[in-house]
């Protein structure tokens, strides 16, 4: 199992900063041209945008244990996980901006981020990536490899059929598979307390004969520890784990979201982990303030370069719409 070294904590913080910078930049680009009257079609970034702001710890705490051979599928809110998995940032931003140089040549957009080089894929329909991740785990086990496969879902997806079917399959086939539930407490506007029959989805693991673990606090260090246990079980041939991570969806479901369905108290209670983690690392002497600043500048520069690349990339040839339907 990986140790929680200073180096890994710095990587986690740096990746959280990078991910946040991508989402903040996308957020402002997205609204450009969509005010005062919001119109999905308008602006430089059309369609829906589901930013990951606030959920970065869930990505870095798990991905710190992974290598390129390990696979991830995720859902409609993929940016933070993609960045932590090492997806090509320039081509990812180009894809989100619908450019020919994007990972999918502009066919996918922000909900459909794929980078085969690091075994990463995402799908916009809730819960539908769970089975494919289990299949990647099946392939790894079949071939006798040590790699693991992880499906990321939101807590709302835990009430979809695929969640239950695939956890049962993972249980009976003993797959090197981890189902990560990011519990941001809201499925669009429906609170988990209303939609879900148990307070913790991790308790549902018992129904499938696999371990379940709940991690409170949206804390990268605690998530790192729990993910390490799950990855170790998977690599060691002990099967699957259901890992539920309490997190916070700072920007709501999609942009713009006024969070009108939340109470004032609920809105006020949302905590941004990024500055807290920074303070912890500096307080514990893992980073000096100066080091943190230069690390942040470096991450921002990387993000800036990715946006420069994307914004200067050409748009797809409309006829390319007809490519890639069949292999």
């Amino acid at each position: 199992m990986h140790e929680l070294t200073a180096e890994r904590r710095i990587w986690m913080y740096r990746t959280m900063v990078k991910s946040r910078a991508v989402d903040d930049r996308l957020n402002s680009l997205y609204l450009d041209g969509k005010t005062p009257i919001f119109d999905f079609r308008a602006g430089i970034l059309p369609g829906e945008l589901h930013p990951s702001n606030g959920q970065e710890p869930c990505a870095v705490g798990v991905c710190a244990h992974l290598g390129p051979d390990d696979s991830i599928t995720t859902g409609h809110r993929p940016h933070h996980v993609a960045i932590a998995k090492g997806v090509d940032l320039k081509r990812m931003v180009a894809e989100i901006l619908g450019r020919a140089t994007g990972l999918s040549g502009g066919r996918g957009g922000h909900m459909h981020i794929y980078d085969k080089a690091v075994n990463f894929g995402s799908s916009g329909i809730i819960a539908e990536g769970i089975g494919p991740a289990a299949g990647m785990a099946f392939a790894a086990k079949f071939r006798g490899r040590q790699s693991v496969a992880i499906a990321y879902i939101g807590e709302g997806a835990a009430n979809a059929g695929a969640f239950h079917e695939v956890l049962n399959l993972a249980g009976i086939y003993k797959l090197p598979f981890i189902l990560v539930v990011e519990d941001n407490a809201w499925a669009v506007s429906v609170p988990k307390s209303y939609s879900t029959s148990v307070p913790r989805n991790s308790d549902r693991a018992a129904g499938y004969g696999i371990p379940g673990e709940y991690v409170s606090g949206n804390d990268p260090d605690l998530i790192f520890a729990a993910a390490g246990r799950a990855v170790e079980r998977a690599r060691g041939g002990e099967g699957s784990t259901l890992l539920e991570l309490q997190t916070t969806r700072l920007k709501g479901h999609f942009v713009p979201d006024a969070l009108a369905y939340m109470s004032a108290d609920e809105r006020k209670a949302m905590v941004d982990m990024n500055p807290i983690y920074r303070d912890r690392l500096t307080a514990e002497g893992v980073l000096t303030n100066q080091e943190a600043q230069s690390l942040e500048a470096e991450a921002l520069a990387e993000v800036e370069a990715a946006f420069e690349y994307a914004m200067h990339s050409r748009f797809p040839n409309p006829e390319a719409a007809f490519d890639c339907v069949y292999a």
Partner: protein, 340 residues
């Protein structure tokens, strides 16, 4: 040394599965009852003993999970075969197939392919009523990203199955139950039994077969209805009507050229399909003719399909509404007599 045996469609298709599994360690099969019974339609008979349970994987009743799992294994480079028993069950996993498996190659810009074969039985005629007798291939053929195959005879079944397993896309391979040659669904139709070479061979997708040449009218069918069309052509001979029979073999890709070449020659057309009539294969065939050779028809074309009703249980009702050689021949006579 080439040698041939007369095989049923089901056995011929299984022979291709066995060859591919023996020659490619990344091919595996997953589905319900495939270990204990060889599958409802015997598509996996004897395979568990031959290949072991790591490659013949019994599954619980979890079609969404199983298709999802197969999709992921295919994305990782394996070649899964999913045995799904009845195509009617596609309703419970349509999303996993049509929205994930079939779209992954496109949405990933060609990075990921999904070389997976979904095998199921299609069609009725044995009093299994509304939820176990449907064809539903038109529903699937409507969605881009999948290929759809419905063989009508043993030779094609084997060659098309080799093509399906080697294809890099999701392929839905449907055994028309009425001609699959399963004892418990009646005696094998003699036209579907065929001499099948022992060695592997491929029948390509998108190439219709002219299963009988004729000059007065074109009968287009697939699976069961292409067998019925041959029977209808025999009946039509009694009226001195020479019918040409086009067996589509695959719905996606669809061989529009062969359809139009035949209709251009005969000037008349009947399309026979066991699937529901509206918005289906028969409409697509008529559209191909209307778009490509609009002046070729000497008489209005006709369709013989399952009507737009749920499939009734009682034999008297089901046989009344199923396409038959007789109803196809009747439609053909009406076209020939009604035309110029």
């Amino acid at each position: 040394m080439s040698s041939e045996r007369t095989l049923t469609l089901a056995r011929a298709g299984r022979e291709a599965v066995i060859w591919e599994m023996e020659n490619n360690p990344e091919v595996f099969m997953i589905g319900q009852d495939i270990v204990g019974t060889g599958g409802v339609f015997r598509t996996a008979e004897g395979l568990a003993k031959r290949f072991g349970r790591d490659r013949i994987v019994e599954s619980p009743i979890s079609e969404t999970g199983v298709i999802g799992l197969a999709t992921g294994a295919a994305m990782a480079g394996m070649r899964p075969l999913v045995e799904m028993a009845y195509i009617d069950f596609i309703g419970v996993c349509f999303n996993a197939l049509a929205n994930f498996a079939a779209k992954t190659h496109y949405m990933s810009g060609g990075q990921y392919s999904v070389p997976m074969v979904l095998i199921a039985g299609t069609g009725g005629g044995y009093s299994n009523a509304a939820q176990h007798s449907q064809c539903l291939y038109s529903l699937l053929a409507h969605m881009p990203g999948m290929k759809i195959v419905v063989p009508s005879n043993a030779y094609d079944a084997k060659g098309l199955m080799h093509s399906a397993i080697r294809d890099d896309n999701p392929v839905v391979f449907l055994y028309a139950k009425a001609v699959a040659g399963l004892g418990f669904l009646g005696k094998p139709h003699p036209r579907a039994m065929m001499a099948v070479p022992e060695e592997p061979y491929v029948v390509p997708f998108g190439k219709a077969r002219i299963s009988r040449e004729g000059s007065d009218i074109t009968l287009v069918g697939l699976g069961y209805t292409s067998v019925l069309a041959l029977d209808a052509a025999d009946l039509l001979m009694q009226d001195d009507i020479s019918a040409e029979v086009v067996d589509l073999r695959s719905l996606v890709p669809l061989d529009r050229e062969s359809i139009c070449a035949s209709v251009a020659k005969t000037g008349r057309l009947v399309v026979a399909d066991e699937d529901y009539g509206s918005y289906g294969v028969s409409a697509e065939v008529l559209a191909a003719v209307a778009e490509k050779i609009p002046s070729a028809l000497r008489a209005p074309a006709r369709r013989v399909t399952f009507p737009d009703i749920s499939i009734p249980f009682a034999r008297q009702m089901e046989y009344h509404v199923l396409p038959s050689a007789q109803t196809i021949a009747d439609a053909a006579r009406a076209v020939v007599r009604g035309g110029a």
